[in-house]
């Protein structure tokens, strides 16, 4: 079955679910994806009227992690009396993971949320496609069979779908929102119990085998175009601090300039803050205007917490995330010891 047919089916089901939720007044607002105004994009949308339900879409370009809109931000999702709005949220696997993790961190209350679960089969790597097309203008992007078809003024190019999806989607184990007893009530769509989370992180082996100098040079080259617009941070559902460490000015911890060392420190500390929290949605890489691919760092975060603490973020709502807890018997092979 072609991807486009599957997506169409999902889209129809999703609209149906969303319509029912709104009609039955189970939710006040639906957060989902709408068609973007430029090719290779999609736009988040908040729907309160039933007529707008048909604007909801589902395809392989829905890269934003919608959980971002539920974390405390201004304007808040509240009604005029100050009560929380009930929200229906279109969730692919990583949105579901983000919701669960945010609930664990007590940032959101799953009672106010209905998860419209969707089985996702991967998000197109926009930057990779753009780079292949080069300076020609893309006018239309669609999935057909097992290909991504990119059309322009006088060209049409096909890319194999499996190759041109995000690196994180290639190794994704959580295609639809995970569920357990405590959140099953919130799920109205296709949510699944996820059990197989084994990962050998083979994709990291090559990089990790490099010498310090090679790694540093790679990171330098990777991040040198960063303009520090903070789109990565703002698109990240886990970056909800009122004041980001990089914006603190009493004291100024780290430079705000675009000198390479400052850029690297920003990404280093941001990665540090996401350890055990990152849900590997890849939104940060998808939104970067300069096309920086942060997936490598994301994978490393996953690997560290998986191997060291046997934890995968956003799967169950019971276990405390590793950086919020401790254990007397933690590994400490990195500590300096006498010979």
């Amino acid at each position: 079955m072609g991807i486009e047919i599957k997506n169409q089916e999902i889209e129809n089901q999703m609209r149906e679910l969303a319509r029912n939720l709104l009609n039955e007044k189970k939710v006040d607002v639906i957060i989902g994806y709408a068609k973007g105004t430029v090719p290779l994009s999609s736009a988040p949308i908040m729907i309160t009227n039933e007529e707008d339900i048909d604007k909801l879409i589902w395809n392989n370009l829905c890269y934003i992690n919608l959980a971002k809109y539920l974390v405390p931000r201004i304007p808040q999702l509240i009604d005029p009396e100050g009560n929380n709005l009930k929200v229906g949220i279109v969730s692919k696997g990583c949105v579901g993971r983000a919701l669960i993790h945010l609930a664990v961190e007590k940032q959101i209350n799953l009672d106010d949320i209905k998860i419209i679960g969707i089985p996702c089969n991967g998000i197109i790597n926009r930057k990779k496609v753009e780079k292949e097309i080069d300076e020609k203008e893309i006018l239309e992007v669609s999935a057909s069979g097992n290909d991504i078809v990119v059309k322009g003024k006088d060209f049409e190019q096909k890319f194999p779908f499996d190759e041109y999806i995000n690196e994180l989607c290639k190794v994704c184990k959580v295609k639809s929102p995970p569920t357990d007893a405590s959140i099953s009530e919130a799920c109205v769509g296709e949510c699944q119990e996820i059990s197989n989370l084994e990962d050998d992180f083979a994709d990291l082996a090559e990089f990790e085998a490099k010498s310090s100098k090679e790694k540093w040079d790679y990171i330098k080259d990777l991040l040198k175009t960063c303009t520090r617009c903070y789109a990565c941070r703002e698109a990240c559902p886990m970056c909800y601090c009122n004041l980001c460490f990089v914006d603190q000015n009493k004291p100024i911890w780290f430079g705000k300039t675009t000198e390479l060392s400052d850029i690297i420190v920003f990404h280093l500390i941001r990665a540090m803050h996401l350890a055990g929290r990152c849900v590997a949605c890849g939104a940060c890489s998808s939104v970067c205007p300069m096309g920086i691919d942060l997936n490598l760092i994301t994978r490393k975060l996953e690997k560290m917490v998986k191997e060291r603490f046997d934890f995968t973020s956003g799967i169950d709502s019971e276990t405390l995330p590793p950086m919020m807890s401790f254990n007397m018997d933690d590994e400490q092979e990195f500590m300096l010891e006498e010979d």
Partner: protein, 351 residues
């Protein structure tokens, strides 16, 4: 107006001749993105491009710019001012919209009486803009809706038109005229070439997909400052700085002092800032007049389409379409403007 011909294979020659006297900036490809960089090797210059990702404003108004440095010796302070402001620059291949962006920036940086931005203005005065008209505008371009044109000449010193194998070179300003006269080896243009350029210009203008009617947009914006439409517009905004960092007219900057106490020195730098960040307006008291995306999104639109016309008699947007292409959540400024335009119509209907 002088009209000359520059063959595309003569770009290297042009570079070699100019590089001695000028810093030669041109589009290059860096990590898949077109950017304007100082050229060290003429082979790096990319001629087949639509437009740069980061606007060429970064040449004269870089993301990070040292204003001055100081060093301490006991109680003596020595301040070193910028030495490079008198260097001459050429920006080759700038698009007319971005050149208009420079004009708008210059208006802003000189508009406040005595406190003109010396660094920017000095650099601007020492810079020659060699623009290339857009033969094939993208569907996201909308300069024609803002009084611009893909072959707008007003803000350039020298205008180039891509005729396939060669460029038609037209001098626009006095500065451009003396500049081109020095390049004696340029052949004179034939009538045929000029005609071809005019045809291209017409064809390009006709190919515009996006056409917005922005007449009196400021008159609609002002009374609707509190309109609920702002909430609708800002619902999905995530408050990143992409739109303003990649805007050829955004001029906001933040000033930072860095000290290096280990070496007894320090420096004052300015970096780009964005009105989309909540820190932009945060007061020391903790009060923030633009606390939510609603106010911040509104500010961006109001600044470009209401405050600019009011203060400087022109719209503060050039229609390059960068924010349309690269907004992470696809909050399309064209759609926003259409929505605002529709307020008026809706009011007429209800009245």
């Amino acid at each position: 107006m002088d009209q000359k011909i520059l063959m595309k294979n003569e770009i290297g020659k042009l570079y070699i001749e100019l590089a001695e006297e000028y810093n030669f900036y041109a589009p290059v490809k860096e990590k898949g993105n077109i950017v304007f960089k100082k050229i060290l090797n003429p082979d790096d210059i990319v001629l087949e491009y639509f437009n740069s990702k980061v606007p060429p404003k970064e040449v004269l108004f870089p993301e990070m710019e040292v204003l001055f440095e100081y060093s301490l010796d006991g109680k003596d302070v020595e301040i070193q001012d910028r030495q490079d402001l008198d260097e001459k620059n050429v920006i080759f291949g700038i698009r007319p919209c971005d050149a208009h962006g420079f004009a708008l920036m210059a208006t802003f940086f000189t508009a406040h009486g005595d406190c003109e931005d010396e660094i920017f203005m000095k650099k601007r005065a020492n810079t020659i803009l060699m623009g290339i008209g857009c033969n094939e505008p993208k569907s996201t371009c909308f300069c024609t809706s803002l009084g611009g044109h893909p072959f707008q000449k007003d803000d350039l010193d020298v205008m180039l038109t891509d005729l396939g194998e060669k460029y038609l070179v037209e001098t626009i300003s006095e500065k451009g005229k003396t500049f081109i006269q020095k390049l004696k080896w340029l052949a004179d243009a034939k009538k045929k070439d000029v005609q071809q350029a005019q045809e291209l210009s017409k064809k390009s203008e006709e190919s515009f997909v996006t056409k917005l009617d922005l007449t009196d947009i400021d008159k609609i914006l002002d009374p609707n400052f509190e309109h609920p439409i702002w909430k609708e517009i800002s619902d999905i905004c995530i408050s990143c700085g992409t739109c303003s960092y990649l805007c050829p007219t955004c001029t906001c900057f933040d000033v930072i002092d860095e000290t290096d106490e280990y070496n007894n020195r320090g420096r004052r730098i300015r970096i780009w800032d964005t009105c989309q960040s909540c820190l932009y307006t945060l007061h020391t008291s903790g009060h923030n007049p633009r606390n939510s995306c609603i106010e911040r999104c509104r500010n961006r639109i109001m600044h470009k389409f209401s405050y600019y016309p009011k203060n400087y008699d022109q719209i503060g947007c050039v229609g390059c379409g960068r924010c349309v292409q690269l907004c992470p959540v696809n909050n399309d400024i064209r759609a926003i403007l259409t929505k605002i335009k529709n307020i008026e119509k809706e009011e007429e209907i209800s009245a």
